[in-house]
C-alpha cells in the first residue's frame, strides 16, 4: 500500500483581474495512485481536472492542501521538486501545439534530459530507446513535427515523456484531438508501456469509453470536487452519484441496441465556478435533490472496497437502475460482429463479385 502519489485536500483558486472574486477551480480533492496503476480523472469543462494535473506536475501551485510523491512533499515551494528528476511527466492534448515546430523530433524528445546533466552519448541512447518504445522509425528523429501525422506527433509526445523513465505520467486528454484509429493506437501503446515499465498514469479525459478501457480506478469530478471514486468497473457498472450516472447516460456506444441505463438525464448548464452554491454543487440540476442538498455539503460515504461517493441519496441512485457492464457487453458484441478472421488472416466468408 505504498502509493507513489498522494493528494490530500487540494484547493486551487484563481483571482479574477479587476475584481475581488475568485474562480474556485479545485475544491478539496484527495486521491492516491499506486505504482503501475491508471487512475482515470473524468469530468466536463469547469470540473478542474486539468488544473489538478497541472498542480501535480508543478505548473501551478496549490492554494491549499498537499501533494506527496513517495511520501515526500512536493507541493510547497519550487525547490522541493528538484529531487524529482523527471519521475513525473506530462503528455499534452494537442500534439501539434506541444511540439516546437522549429525543433527536430530528436531534439524535442531529448529536451527533458537536459537538466539531468548527462553526456551526449547517454542522451542519444535514451532518445533512441524512447522512440523505439513508441514504435516509430528512428529515421524520424531528424524530421520536423509538421512532417508527421497527428498520431505520430502524439507518439513523439509520449516518447518525450518516457525518455526520463518516469514513474508517473500525467496525460491531459491525450487522444481527444485524434481520429478514432490513431486514438486506439495511442491507447494500445500506453497500455503496452505500462505493462513493460510499470508506469502509473493519471489519465485525464472526458471520453468515458476510453477511460473505462484503460483505467483501473476512476474519479469523477464536478466543479472542482471528486463526487465519486472507485474501481472503474464498480463506478461505471453501478454509479452511486447522480452526476456520474448522468455522465454515463450520455455515452453513446456504436451499437444501436446498447444504451447505458440511467435514471438521470442532466439538464441545463454547469454553473459558474465563481459563485459556488452552498451545499451540493449539483443541487440545481439533480433529479434526486432534496432540501438538505441545497444547504449541506454531503459527507463522504463508503459504498464498497475503495469506492467513495459524496451524496445523501447515493443508495437511491444505485438502486434506480440495475448494475450492468454495458461496456463489456459492447466489447463482446464487437468481437462477435467483427471477429471473423481465421488464422490465415482471411475472413471466414467473403462475398465476391
Amino acid at each position: 500500500m505504498n502509493a507513489i502519489l498522494t493528494v490530500e485536500n487540494l484547493f486551487k483558486q484563481f483571482p479574477i483581474a479587476g475584481s475581488k472574486q475568485v474562480v474556485q477551480a479545485i475544491n478539496d480533492v484527495s486521491f492516491s495512485i499506486q505504482p503501475g496503476e491508471t487512475l482515470g480523472l473524468v469530468g466536463e469543462s469547469g470540473s478542474g481536472k486539468t488544473t489538478v494535473g497541472r498542480c501535480i506536475i508543478g505548473l501551478l501551485e496549490p492554494s491549499a492542501g498537499t501533494i506527496h510523491f513517495h511520501g515526500k512533499l512536493i507541493s510547497d515551494r519550487r525547490g522541493s521538486r528538484r529531487g524529482l528528476a523527471g519521475k513525473i511527466q506530462f503528455v499534452f492534448q494537442e500534439p501539434a501545439e506541444s511540439l516546437d515546430p522549429r525543433m527536430k523530433i530528436g531534439q524535442s524528445i531529448s529536451e527533458p534530459l537536459l537538466p539531468m546533466k548527462l553526456d551526449r552519448t547517454t542522451r542519444e541512447r535514451k532518445t533512441l530507446e524512447a522512440i523505439r518504445l513508441v514504435r516509430l522509425d528512428p529515421d524520424l528523429l531528424d524530421d520536423y513535427p509538421s512532417e508527421l501525422s497527428a498520431g505520430q506527433q502524439q507518439r513523439v509526445g509520449i516518447a518525450r515523456a518516457m525518455v526520463t523513465q518516469p514513474e508517473l505520467v500525467v496525460l491531459d486528454e491525450p487522444t481527444s484531438a485524434l481520429d478514432p484509429t490513431a486514438r486506439a493506437e495511442i491507447i494500445d501503446l500506453l497500455q503496452r508501456i505500462q505493462a513493460e515499465r510499470n508506469t502509473a498514469y493519471l489519465f485525464i479525459s472526458h471520453d468515458l469509453s476510453t477511460v473505462r478501457f484503460i483505467s483501473h480506478r476512476v474519479a469523477v469530478m464536478y466543479l472542482g470536487m471528486i463526487v465519486e471514486q472507485g474501481d472503474a468497473a464498480d463506478v461505471f457498472n453501478r454509479p452511486h452519484h447522480p452526476y456520474a450516472s448522468g455522465l454515463l447516460s450520455s455515452v453513446l456506444l456504436p451499437h444501436p441496441h446498447l444504451k447505458i441505463e440511467s435514471s438521470v438525464s442532466l439538464k441545463g448548464e454547469i454553473p459558474s465556478p465563481i459563485n459556488l452554491p452552498k451545499g451540493c454543487f449539483l443541487a440545481s440540476r439533480c433529479p434526486f435533490v432534496i432540501d438538505r442538498c441545497r444547504t449541506e455539503m454531503p459527507p463522504m460515504s463508503i459504498v464498497g472496497d475503495g469506492h467513495f461517493v459524496y451524496c445523501f441519496r447515493h443508495e437511491d441512485v444505485a438502486a434506480s437502475v440495475p448494475a450492468s457492464d454495458t461496456f463489456n457487453v459492447f466489447m463482446r458484441e464487437a468481437e462477435r460482429i467483427l471477429g471473423r478472421r481465421t488464422s490465415t488472416g482471411l475472413p471466414i466468408q467473403i462475398h465476391s463479385n
Partner: protein
C-alpha cells in the same frame, strides 16, 4: 429501412470537388452520390480528411476556400441548384436549405449581437419587418432552450459558452423552417452532457418541423443512435451506405469494420482489421482508394475501382469483397 422508391427530398449526384493547386489539383470529392428522404436523418461518418466538410459546403454551392465544384448535380425541388445563378441560390440557403456549423464562436460575426444575427435571417429570407423578426428570433431561442433568451439576445458571440453558441447557430439554421438541414460536426468540442441535450434538441426540432437532416460526425457512436441511415466516407468516396441496424450489426466494408474495431478498444480486433502504419500516406491512383490500408486487399483492388453494390436491400458497399454476416 430499405431504399424506398419515394422521391428523395434532395439528391446529390456524382459530386466531384477539387482544389486546384500550383502544380496539380487535389481531388477531394471523387464522385459522391447520396439521397435523403423527407423526414429522415442520414448520418455521414468518416475521419478527418475524408471530405465531409467539403461535401457539406459543396451541397450548398460554397466549397471551402480555393475549392471548385468540377462536376455533379444537387437536385432539390426538381432542379439542379448548382446551376442556379448565385442570387437565386442565396435565397435558398438559410431558408430552405440550412447548415449548422461547428466552432460557432468563430463563425458568428464578432461585432453583432446574436439577436441581430438571428433576426437578420428572418428579415432577409422571410421578408418580415424588424419587430416581427425580433419576435421570431425570441421564439426560436426559446425553442432551443436558451435560458433567459431576452437577455441573451443582446449578447455578443464571445460572451457565450460553447453550448450556448451552438444553440444560437442551430436557431439560425431553423428559424426559417428549412426542408433540409446539414449538421456539420455540430457537437464536437461540446461537453458530453451538453452534446446529449443538443442531439435531443436537434432530433426533436427536425421531427416537429418535418425536416430532413444530413448529420455529419466523426463519432460513430452518435450515428448509431441518432441516425436512420448511415453513410461511411473515406478519401472523398462513399464506401458504405446502410440502415443503422445493418451498418453496425452487419458491416460490410473493411473500413467500416476498422472504425468499429477502433471504437471497441480491443487490440485483437484492431489488429484484425488494420494494416500496420507505414508512416507514408500513399495516394491510390488506380483501383480502390482504401486498398493500401485494407487487410483483405487482393490484387484486383489496386487495379479496378470497386462498384457500389447492393448486398442486401438498402445496403450498399463499394468493395470487391464485402464482408458477409450470413
Amino acid at each position: 429501412m430499405a431504399e424506398t422508391s419515394a422521391a428523395p427530398l434532395i439528391a446529390i449526384m456524382d459530386l466531384h470537388v477539387d482544389f486546384p493547386g500550383a502544380n496539380e489539383s487535389k481531388e477531394v470529392l471523387k464522385g459522391v452520390s447520396l439521397t435523403v428522404q423527407p423526414g429522415e436523418i442520414l448520418g455521414l461518418v468518416g475521419e478527418s480528411g475524408a471530405g465531409k466538410t467539403t461535401l457539406a459546403r459543396s451541397i450548398l454551392g460554397v466549397p471551402p476556400t480555393s475549392g471548385r465544384i468540377a462536376a455533379g448535380k444537387v437536385i432539390f425541388e426538381d432542379r439542379n441548384i448548382l446551376d442556379l445563378p448565385e442570387p437565386e441560390l442565396r435565397k435558398l440557403r438559410g431558408s430552405r436549405l440550412s447548415i449548422v456549423v461547428p466552432n460557432p464562436r468563430a463563425e458568428l460575426n464578432p461585432t453583432m449581437t446574436v439577436g441581430k444575427q438571428i433576426a437578420a435571417m428572418a428579415r432577409i429570407h422571410l421578408g418580415v419587418d424588424r419587430a416581427e423578426a425580433t419576435r421570431l428570433a425570441l421564439a426560436i431561442l426559446r425553442d432551443v432552450h436558451i435560458p433567459d433568451p431576452r437577455r441573451r439576445m443582446n449578447a455578443y458571440p464571445h460572451e457565450l459558452s460553447g453550448g450556448m453558441a451552438q444553440r444560437v447557430v442551430i436557431a439560425m439554421a431553423l428559424i426559417c423552417d428549412p426542408a433540409f438541414i446539414i449538421s456539420d460536426d455540430a457537437t464536437s468540442g461540446l461537453d458530453v452532457t451538453v452534446q446529449a441535450q443538443i442531439l435531443s434538441l436537434l432530433g426533436g426540432l427536425a421531427a416537429d418541423h418535418g425536416s430532413a437532416m444530413l448529420f455529419i460526425t466523426r463519432d460513430i457512436g452518435i450515428a448509431a443512435h441518432f441516425c436512420d441511415r448511415v453513410a461511411v466516407m473515406y478519401s472523398g468516396e462513399i464506401m458504405e451506405l446502410a440502415s443503422r441496424e445493418n451498418l453496425f450489426l452487419r458491416p460490410a466494408h473493411p473500413y467500416t469494420l476498422m472504425l468499429l474495431a477502433a471504437f471497441s478498444h480491443s487490440p485483437k480486433l484492431r489488429d484484425a482489421w488494420s494494416v500496420p502504419e507505414t508512416g507514408v500516406r500513399q495516394t491510390q491512383k488506380e483501383g480502390c482508394s482504401y486498398s493500401s490500408r485494407c487487410p483483405i486487399a487482393q490484387p484486383v483492388c489496386s487495379e479496378r475501382r470497386p462498384p457500389f453494390v447492393e448486398i442486401r436491400p438498402g445496403h450498399f458497399a463499394r468493395c470487391h469483397f464485402p464482408v458477409s454476416h450470413e
